[in-house]
């Protein structure tokens, strides 16, 4: 009797498209900024160094100066770290807790699913910016509050996506096999279901990350985000808004920074390798 064997598969290389490479480059760039940006800043971000307010790009000030004459490059390098680290931690919290709850809802079913889903449905119905405004107004603006607020706002949406994925995977026979073996709910969630929803969850993570960046920028724009003298990218746009009429780089550059982060993350997510071209270890 012969067992038909496929010839050993050629090692698949990690291939990524051009747009994916652009996204990856932008993401790597911003991660580097988050890591070492403030060390590279030519001036202390809070010091007034220029004589010109809302000044043009010069050798001394490559991205111009802001409305008080501070160096824009230094401020963006520091502001980028705030925006990205707050958004990353908040998104991670949102997605991690959403996945855990979604897996529990899918595996346990019944009343666990019903209670979780209805509670989070209630939370999802609150407008996000309004919720942020109320929380920050009541508890004051600090970085932990901002992180938690963003995480709570985006958790129900992530839960919806993750639950839909988990319910589908939970319907597969291999989950029945694991249950018939006597495996506990935790093992089924962690080892059987989660690995089959990682990619869509990562996609969702990237989307939520972008939403959080925009929410933080929105809050900062309203003056409720990171407080002066510190500034994230959103606050940089707001404080230099008067420069818009002069076309000053001080307002264009932080806006471009926000755009490049969000576009970069989206391009990278859209080009994540699918399961069919899984990498060989």
């Amino acid at each position: 009797m012969s067992v038909p064997l496929r010839a050993t598969l050629p090692p698949r290389r990690f291939r990524i498209s051009v747009t994916g490479a652009i996204g990856l480059a932008l993401v790597v760039f911003w991660l580097a900024v988050t890591a070492v940006g403030p060390m590279l800043a030519p001036y202390p971000p809070g010091r007034i160094v220029g004589t010109d307010v809302l000044g043009p790009m010069t050798h001394a000030f490559p991205l111009g100066t802001d409305y008080l004459g501070r160096d824009m490059l230094s401020r963006i390098l520091v502001g980028g770290r705030y925006t990205i680290s707050i958004a990353f931690v908040a998104t991670f919290l949102a997605c991690f807790s959403a996945c855990t709850l979604a897996l529990a809802a899918a595996v346990k079913g019944g009343w666990v699913d019903a209670v979780l889903s209805r509670l989070l449905d209630a939370l999802i119905s609150i407008p996000s910016l309004l919720f942020g405004l109320v929380v920050v107004a009541a508890l004051g603006s600090s970085i932990p509050i901002l992180v938690l607020t963003a995480a709570v706002i985006y958790m129900p949406g992530a839960y919806r996506t993750a639950r839909a994925l988990a319910v589908n995977v939970n319907a597969m026979d291999f989950v029945r096999v694991a249950q018939a073996r006597g495996e506990g709910a935790w093992y089924v969630m962690r080892a059987e279901i989660m690995p089959n929803m990682v990619l869509p969850v990562l996609t969702d993570f990237g989307l939520r990350f972008v939403f959080v960046v925009l929410l933080l920028s929105g809050l900062s724009f309203l003056g409720l985000g990171v407080q002066p003298p510190d500034a994230d990218l959103g606050s940089l746009v707001r404080e230099n808004l008067q420069g818009l009429v002069f076309g000053a780089p001080a307002v264009i550059m932080p806006a471009a920074a926000i755009a490049s982060i969000t576009i970069g993350v989206n391009l990278l997510i859209d080009n994540l390798p699918t399961r069919r071209v899984s990498r060989e270890r």
Binding site: M1, V3, P4, L5, R6, L9, P10, R12, M172, D173, F174, R176, V177, A178, Q179, A180, R181, G182, E183, A191, E192, P195, N196, V198, R275, R276, V277, S278
Partner: protein
């Protein structure tokens, strides 16, 4: 057109497919055959033999990643390869039409049937809507569909699978195409349903003189319908011949192999020497189960199994047979604890198994393992084979390190897979390999009883036969017991010691393996046995009228709640008795028990001891 020329000619056809690494390889290589006007030619081969690719190329179509790289395709006066995109649109559905395997997927569920059936006539502007509808009704009648004047107003989900498949044929025939391609049109159907569909196809093809290309993996079905057979393997023609001679005296070795696999050898273990009375391994008593919660009487809202009793002896194999929806998979789920029973008991070695999974001990769970039909969904696609096999070893036996690795290697060897496959994920294995891994995982628990749910049904005949050989070998070596669920009687006959036949959740017959060979049997068993296509021409035309009537009657509504679920289809029913009183359990001399009001002599008189077809001729 020259009368001597065949209607369809395929000449040195070559189709290339691009794989993951971008390499092109030939999936159809130098295939030539012809179909004369009014002739039925069958393409037969296993999956991957290129039969569907060839059939689609007659429509000028190559699936994504494939391209027709060489050769000629002529249908009537049309050179298919020379056609432009617009020309192909004119060809498809008009000159050449296609009947797909899954009628359920071929119909749009949100549209009524009639507009879909006449759609190609409308697209090609062949006739006004009224004329097309009248023609469709004529086709419905010719295809022996019930209510031919009104069935078009229904939605696809409102008709049965066999009816939908015939409606799909009407859709293909509405434009009077020169060539009809049927791609495995009855593969997804139950055997009793297959009979009426095949007969309808054949009658219409004969009446209209339709030229047909019939694609199938099932030689017995092809024997009934085809004039000539083209045997394919790995994209190349192995043998072409007229049906009768090809079946009687296959010349090519591969054709002989296919014929051998179609009539499987009996894989019996030598009868287990029963020293004294060993208690049964598994005893199921008065089992009733179903879905959708319990009503006031404690019965499930949707009952699936009713009052099932049976035992499995240590080291023996029980075959569970029945058509889709009869409750055979539900039975496996109840025994495995995945679905708690509403009533009745399941005991293992005399010890009652709790109904719920959570209440069973790890040892009880280890001793009963379930193997699902679809290895694709039964193996976690994210895990490597090694990890899939390691988990039960760690979970039940606490193995680790070197002992774990050695045991995994031994398991892979036991199911005849090379050890290096352990590093691959299921998605990289073939169907047969996946099913072997699926079995190896069950063996890893070192169970006493394995519940096999249609483990060979999704596989090609030859691959499935190899899996059966493996199971038979394992059974001898490991003293395993099996509950072997299948809708395929020949597989069950080849592998099982005892058989249980279910109809609509009722156990209509239970007995020794030969219960499936010797008459008398329960009227439903008789129908089932005589519905399996036989590997000879003329079988289909020789089916007795009584069996035809039984085959075309559908399962009654709420059949499980009737005293006898088979009452509405039964040819030997007794009005006033069968529909009112629960049938008694009647022992038969051949070593079986049936649920029937008829006596052994009455049944024997009604059922010919020979295959029914022989008497008719």
């Amino acid at each position: 057109m020259n009368a001597d020329r065949p209607l369809v000619e395929v000449d040195a056809l070559r189709v290339l497919a691009r794989d993951d690494s971008g390499q092109e390889r030939r999936i159809v290589d130098d295939v030539s055959f012809s179909i004369g006007a009014g002739e039925v030619v069958a393409l037969i081969g296993e999956s991957g033999s290129g039969k569907t690719t060839i059939a689609l190329s007659l429509l000028g179509y190559a699936r994504a990643g494939c391209r027709i790289a060489g050769g000629g395709i002529r249908v009537g006066a049309t050179d298919v390869r020379a056609l432009s995109a617009a020309g192909l649109t004119g060809l498809r559905g008009r000159q050449v039409s296609y009947i797909a395997q899954s009628a359920a997927a071929a119909f749009n569920p949100s549209q009524r049937i009639m507009p879909q059936v006449i759609e190609s006539a409308m697209i090609h502007r062949l006739m006004p809507r009224r004329a097309a509808e009248a023609k469709a009704r004529g086709l419905f009648r010719a295809l022996a569909l019930p209510n031919p004047d009104r069935i078009g107003a229904r939605f696809p989900h409102q008709v049965s699978g066999g009816q939908l498949q015939r409606l799909l044929a009407a859709m293909a025939l509405i434009t009077d195409p020169e060539l009809v391609i049927m791609d495995e049109p009855t593969t997804a159907l139950d055997v009793t349903t297959q009979i009426e569909v095949l007969r309808a196809f054949k009658a219409v093809a004969r009446e209209k003189g339709t030229t047909t290309l019939y694609v199938s993996h099932d030689l017995a079905v092809v024997a009934q319908i085809a004039d000539r057979i083209v045997v394919l393997r790995d994209g190349a023609v192995q043998e072409i011949g007229h049906t009768g001679p090809l079946l009687a005296a296959p010349r090519h070795a591969y054709t002989q192999e296919l014929l051998a696999a179609a009539a499987p050898a009996v894989r019996m273990a030598p009868p287990v020497a029963r020293t004294g009375e060993r208690p049964p391994l598994l005893r199921v008593a008065g089992l009733t189960a179903g879905y959708g919660g319990a009503n006031a009487a404690g019965m499930p809202v949707l009952p699936v199994l009713r009052d099932i009793d049976f035992v499995i002896q240590p080291g023996s194999v029980l075959g569970v047979v029945g058509e889709s929806g009869c409750g055979k998979s539900t039975l496996a789920r109840v025994i495995a604890g995945l679905l708690p029973a509403a009533r009745g008991s399941v005991s293992l070695d005399g010890e009652a198994l709790p109904a719920k999974l959570q209440d069973r001990s790890r040892e009880q769970l280890r001793r009963v393992q379930i193997v699902f039909q679809m290895a694709d969904t039964a193996l976690n696609p994210a895990h490597e084979v090694d990890r899939i096999l390691a988990r039960p070893l760690v979970f039940y036996h606490g193995l680790r390190g070197g002992a774990l690795r050695r045991r995994i290697a031994a398991l892979l060897e036991m199911v005849q897979l090379p050890a290096r496959l352990g590093r691959h994920k299921p998605g990289e294995l073939s169907g047969g390999q996946k099913q072997r891994v699926n079995l190896a995982r069950a063996l890893a628990a070192e169970p006493s009883l394995i519940l096999c749910d249609e483990v060979t049904s999704a596989l090609d005949t030859v691959v499935g036969a190899a899996i059966l050989d493996l199971l038979a070998g394992l059974r001898r070596e490991l003293d395993l017991s099996f509950m072997f669920i299948s809708h395929d009687l020949s597989t069950v006959r080849a592998f099982c010691d005892e058989v249980m036949i279910l109809y609509a959740g009722q156990r209509v017959e239970f007995g020794q393996r030969r219960a499936l060979l010797d008459r008398p049997m329960h009227p439903y068993s008789d129908l089932l046995v005589s519905s399996i296509p036989e590997l000879r021409t003329g079988w289909l035309d020789g089916i007795s009228a009584a069996h035809l009537a039984e085959a075309s009657g559908g399962i009654a509504a709420h059949a499980i709640e009737l005293p006898c679920a088979f009452y509405n289809r039964c040819a030997v029913r007794v009005e006033g008795v069968c529909n009112l009183q629960k049938p008694p359990l009647r022992p038969l001399a051949k070593g079986a028990e049936i649920l029937c009001h008829r006596t052994e002599q009455e049944l024997l008189a009604a059922q010919s001891p020979q295959p029914a077809a022989v008497l008719v001729h």
